[in-house]
Amino acid sequence: MNERRAARERRRAQEFELFVAGAGGRLLHAALLLTGEPGRAVGSGAGVDDGSRGTEAAERLLTASLARTYADWGRLRGEDPYARTRQEMAARFARTARRYRHPRGGVLDRLAPRERLVLVLRLHEGVAEEQTAAALGLSVERVRIICTRAVNTLRSRPATPPVAAARQAPGAAP
C-alpha cells in the first residue's frame, strides 16, 4: 500500500518536473505581466544572479499556483495542466489584486490589476472572451470593454519601455 503510494508520488514528481521544465518560462512570463515587475528576459546580459531579478512576486504567485496543480495532478483527468495552472494563477491574482496596485516598472504598469489580468488572458494567452469572462466572473461585454480600454491606454502613451526598446533594436536593423 505504502509502496504503491510512493511509486505514484515518484511518477507524479517526474511528470510535474517535465511539465514545469516545458511550461515554466511561459507561465512565469504571464505571472510577470500580471504582477507588473520588470523582470529580465533570457539572454539580456550579465548580472542575472544579482539577488534581485525583479521577479520575486511573480515567482511566488507561480509557485503557489503550481503547488495546486501538483496536488491536483492525479485528478486532472485529461485536462491540460497548463490551463489549470493559468486558471489558478488568474484566480489567485484576482483575490490578491490589491497588492499589485503600485507601479513596479513592468510593461503593464499603467494598467489597473484587473485590466492587466484581462489583457494577459485575452491577448498574451489567447483565451477566448467567453472563457475569460467565465474565469473571472464577469460578463462578456465587460471583458470586451476592459480589454479595449487597456489596449487604448497602452497605445495612447509613449509606451516603449527600455527593455522592449533594447530587444526591438536588433530585430529592426537586420
Binding site: 514545469v20 528576459a41 533570457v42 509557485t63 501538483y70 496536488a71 495532478w73 522592449a164 530587444r167
Partner: protein
C-alpha cells in the same frame, strides 16, 4: 484586418518580451508545497472518517440501549 485587430496585435507584440529565466529550484519548491497540500487533504479526510466512525458507534450504542423500535410500555 480591422483597426481593432491591428491595435490588439500591436499590444500583443508589446507583451511578447521573451521568457524570463525560471529559477531552477522553482519546480522543486512548488512540488514540496504541493505535497504539503496533499498531506493536509489526507489529514482532513482521516479526521472526517474518524468522526463518522465515532458517530456510527455512538448511534449503535444509543439504539441498543434505548431500543426506539420497541413499543413504549403501556400505561396502566
Amino acid at each position: 484586418m480591422s483597426a481593432h485587430d491591428r491595435k490588439e496585435e500591436e499590444v500583443r507584440r508589446m507583451l511578447d518580451l521573451g521568457h524570463p529565466r525560471v529559477p531552477p529550484e522553482l519546480a522543486a519548491r512548488a512540488a514540496a508545497r504541493g505535497r504539503g497540500i496533499l498531506r493536509a487533504r489526507r489529514a482532513v479526510r482521516a479526521v472526517a472518517w474518524v468522526l463518522l466512525l465515532i458517530a456510527v458507534v455512538a448511534f449503535c450504542v444509543w439504539a441498543a440501549i434505548e431500543a426506539p423500535w420497541s413499543a413504549p410500555p403501556r400505561e396502566p
